[in-house]
Symmetry: C2
Subunit: 232 residues, 2 copies
DNA sequence: GATTGACAGATTGTCTGACAATAGTGATCA
DNA sequence: TGATCACTATTGTCAGACAATCTGTCAATC
């Protein structure tokens, strides 16, 4: 039983809030984060803020340019591609492990998350879709029994969150997504680790392709502005 | 041409020095790092030190216990096992990628690092062995063309450095190591990505087993002291 | 004898205020 | 038009301070 009353340190809370803000899109790729500004808004001192920023930097969620300060990184497609490749690798492994050693409780969690997702697809509710997806993955990673993979994936996914949110809300993608997730679940339920790995990797591959389309369309629109920014 | 004379910020330099010190074994698993002490020794202020510590914490190189401060983590075997599993996955992928897209220059670097390693094995020079291994991997990861994998692996390997140094210096292990590395190189030189992946994974698997023996022997010796510490 | 309570010392968590160094900006002048 | 130069905004770094917390010790109590 956990009786602790959130004795979180300031920098820790700060890091969490900023993380959440970036994932929620409050700060967008390319945005600068001004220290004094954040201190004021969060009601904390600069040293505490800077500690939090260092944590986020090491997570890859922000980059800190010397003498210019922190900003949300703008991913190149090459970087995104690397992330997707590693993500496929790790998620495949997690699925395979899960197929081998998940408990019935884990499978149950996955099943209900999957059902929630399918309901959300039918009703067309983007928020529920996102949370159901998160639940599904959490259950799978928990079932894999490898905390390291879970942590690494969480960080990687955070870095492509921007692409993810867009491609997930794209017409048609949700339906395919549901099918792919079901395939992962079925393979795991059967205990077929080989099939589970394949299904998970295929899912990431498809997500990558959806993201690529998004980024391509995006780049075409804002190409001038962005390349000017990068070369500066 | 790079003329800059180390315009690295203080916290960055600090992080690097501490990283190097931990890898070199100056601070051993379980050691506490006292802020005031480090500030004095490094000649820096506490805020700067704390920023550096937050970076190292996010890298997993130290843990910071609330109100007790930073310390070098003591790995359980379960944690080490997770790291080895992910390492096998990533190194296998890197080897496979390298087999597909390394340039002749990359292969040349690997070849000379391998030769240096074999010479070091014959002369029985542990320091050269370590540096040659590092060179070999650096070349392979560079050849894979995936900077993310390189970064992730670097961090993971840092976390098991303690085990690694011990198992590498173990009688007999070096010779096997040389054989395994040669197998990786040959597969990459042939462009056989499948064989390269297998060879790299086998190499990690063997390293893991060597490490397990070390940890088992270690635990038997200091079991009393350690379990008392953990339960406290 | 074991548990509790109190206390001192060590260490971390956090803030304030300050100042130098740097990058970006706009004005000035050739 | 282009180069130069001050100005401003912002970051990098430090010193000093104080509260909060942990650790171990020692006496008091049951």
């Amino acid at each position: 039983m956990e009786l602790r009353v959130s004795i979180q340190s300031v920098h820790q809370q700060t890091a969490e809030k900023l993380r959440a803000a970036i994932l929620a899109g409050v700060f967008r790729p390319g945005d600068r984060l001004i220290e004094a500004d954040l201190c004021g808004r969060l009601g904390i001192s600069r040293p505490s803020l800077r500690e939090a920023l260092r944590s986020l930097e090491a997570e890859g969620l922000i980059v800190i340019v010397p003498n210019r300060g922190p900003q949300v990184p703008v991913l190149t497609w090459a970087q995104a591609e690397e992330i997707y490749r590693v993500r496929a690798l790790l998620e495949g492994e997690a699925a395979a492990l899960c197929a081998r050693c998940a408990t019935e409780a884990d499978r149950q969690s996955m099943r209900s998350a999957l059902q929630a997702f399918e309901r959300a697809v039918q009703t067309g509710d983007p928020a529920s879709r996102l949370s159901a997806t998160a639940d599904f993955y959490r259950a799978m990673l928990r079932g894999s029994g490898n905390a390291l993979i879970e942590e690494l994936l969480q960080r990687l996914v955070a870095r492509i969150n921007f692409l993810r949110a867009q491609s997930m809300s794209r017409a048609g993608r949700a339906k395919f997504s549901a099918k792919e997730m079901r395939a992962i679940y079925l393979a795991i339920a059967k205990g077929d680790s080989r099939a589970a790995r394949k299904a998970a990797q295929a899912h990431v591959k498809n997500a990558e392709e959806a993201a690529r389309d998004i980024l391509a369309g995006d780049a075409a629109q804002t190409n001038g502005a962005r390349s000017r920014k990068l070369s500066a």
